[in-house]
Symmetry: C2
Subunit: 360 residues, 2 copies
């Protein structure tokens, strides 16, 4: 049976990526050695990480003079404290836009280091929309504004460019490179766990404006200091296989082109949201205008809540997997990352129609 | 040509491991999906990480009631600050045995958090031996004693059990599971980058005595707090592929048996050190009694220094790769991790003899 993988992350990867990765795990480019057995200081891997760095910057449309790309580890969850450790002085204020579960986690960690001003929050309405950022109560510009561009759990996404009186720090874990990235010049730092649109789990991308670093008073342990990784191509052994997976995925992204990827993603999301809005048994969880193109959250309408399992069962029989909503939200979630084909969404829509024909 | 991989890490892995990994990267156990595309919360991966945790503890001979195994990221370099962040109060003293480059790095990071007492150092003699630990100058027992059991760069290894008036924290990155681990009950925390004897790069093993945690006064950011990872099987997305690689390697270790692995490692090291001591053109860099069975460091004798490149060239022609010493030491280094067969060492010895026949 053809599987339709709606996993929220780790998630579907282009087949050319997994196939090339598998070949390299056995014998990398005919060297007679697995990529896993090579020194990270070998010419082979130095070329891989160097290309992964420059290609990411190119696809983001950022300038290598101003910005540095890092392949770190520890996930976005590590960035929640690494960002304020490096960018927020004690006594200083950072602004946070509270758009979902991950924003809230970032806010919690920032409080270890300085003051946090919540300049907008959708917490009271179950994160069903993107709130406006309001800086009017702040007496002076904050150290930075932290945003989460796409909210994997609740299923909302920032669609309008946010302007701020300070550098923007953006957690782009779940929508990075899902479209042309536009003007990022207001961004001081961008981070993303790789395991959605960028590659396999195991590495975290950080893109940092170099001029922002070195401005806090506290001493920073070496590994958590961004400057360590800006200065050293590899300060210590990086997650070799994950970085190679990212490089292969980035090459695939470049080959597709971000405009084409955006078109595909828009078509997939439109197909699914149209069915959700049309089908009398389903409802979307996020308001129009804030809906995510990457993670579509929906549920059965009132009175049908006890049939969730039947729906998931029917979906599974059609090869549609990983559709249960996040445990904190419930309902359903279909993640439509770059590598998911339109036919998978079509298969899901068919399942929804079959379900309604049976239960409606 | 058969390759003989003397890489210091990432390094040689058992062939059964790379072959199974490659299969899973394409299609994990016939599921029709790559292991890289599966949610870390899937039953499939929960089973993998659970077995990886319990098998490691079993091989270490430690009790699951007392100790917890964690698969973290960031390498041993992250442990250099995570250990004192969690275990060393401000004003308190931690003891460090300075046995090499990595010990020195660990010492540097600990100073961010409390006082450091160096209870023994071999820095003044180029780390050519393991110094004794002397606690007599300390007025009270330190928070912990930090040791590096094997020194990958200089090529020394602790062969005698160290006793301390406090819990031992051990960086075992380069000799963990290279032999039966003996009595580890005095250890409060053990850590190791995976990329030598445990698996591919990308994950760091931490084994922690649970009763040691929660005793420092400072607030600890969530991700760097060991308790977060003790409480949650997976707090965030872990490096899936690296952990699966560890599980496969640990299964291989169990199948071989640690006694047999120790015998093999002893035979490999003996063969190489005998040649170094016997051959008039070579000399060992570490004193007898402190020599590492994992990383054998050696050089040409005086007067032959300008022929280093010729030796490396001759070795390369015989398929013996990655023999250049660490850039801070020079000379040669042959890493003889568990997966390296005796025949590779024999091939290297042949090269040394051929070199001497030509240049001696």
């Amino acid at each position: 049976m053809k599987m339709h993988n709606f996993c929220a992350g780790p998630s579907i990867l282009p087949k050319v990526v997994t196939e090339q990765l598998a070949r390299s795990v056995v014998d990398h480019e005919g060297m007679g050695l697995s990529l896993l057995e090579l020194s990270h200081r070998s010419d082979t891997f130095v070329k891989i990480i160097s290309e992964a760095k420059s290609l990411l910057l190119e696809l983001m449309g950022l300038d290598a003079e101003e910005y540095e790309t890092l392949y770190l580890t520890g996930g976005a969850s590590t960035q929640f404290y690494q960002v304020p450790f490096n960018l927020l002085n004690e006594g200083q204020t950072a602004a946070y836009l509270d758009t979902g579960r991950w924003s809230a986690k970032a806010i919690k960690e920032a409080k270890h280091f300085g003051n946090v001003a919540i300049v907008g929050s959708a917490a009271n309405s179950g994160y069903d929309h993107i709130p406006k950022a309001d800086f009017s109560r702040l007496e002076e510009p904050p150290a930075y504004l932290h945003i989460t561009t796409n909210n994997t759990v609740s299923g909302s996404q920032i669609h309008e460019q946010i302007s701020a009186p300070c550098p923007i720090v953006a957690d782009m874990s779940s929508d990075i490179l899902s479209k042309p990235m536009g003007d990022l010049s207001g961004h001081g730092l961008i981070y993303a766990g790789a395991q959605k649109n960028i590659g396999p789990a195991g590495t975290t991308i950080v893109i940092v404006k170099k001029s922002l670093l070195g401005k806090v008073d506290r001493a920073i342990p070496t590994m958590i200091d961004y400057r360590t990784h800006v200065k050293n191509l590899m300060f210590n052994t990086p997650p070799v296989i994950s970085i190679y997976g990212c490089l292969l995925t980035l090459r695939w992204v470049k080959e597709q082109g971000l405009e084409q990827i955006q078109k595909n993603n828009a078509a997939k999301a439109a197909l699914l949201y149209e069915e959700i809005d049309r089908n009398p048994l389903f409802r979307a969880l996020v308001k129009e205008g804030s809906r995510s193109l990457m993670n579509v959250t929906f549920d059965l309408v009132e009175g049908y809540a006890d049939r969730s399992e039947s729906f998931l069962q029917l979906a599974a029989e059609a090869g549609c997997m990983a559709l249960a909503g996040h445990r904190s939200v419930g309902g359903f979630r279909a993640s439509l990352y770059n590598a998911l084909p339109l036919e998978s969404v079509a298969a899901l829509v068919e399942v929804m129609q079959a379900f309604t024909a049976k239960h409606g």
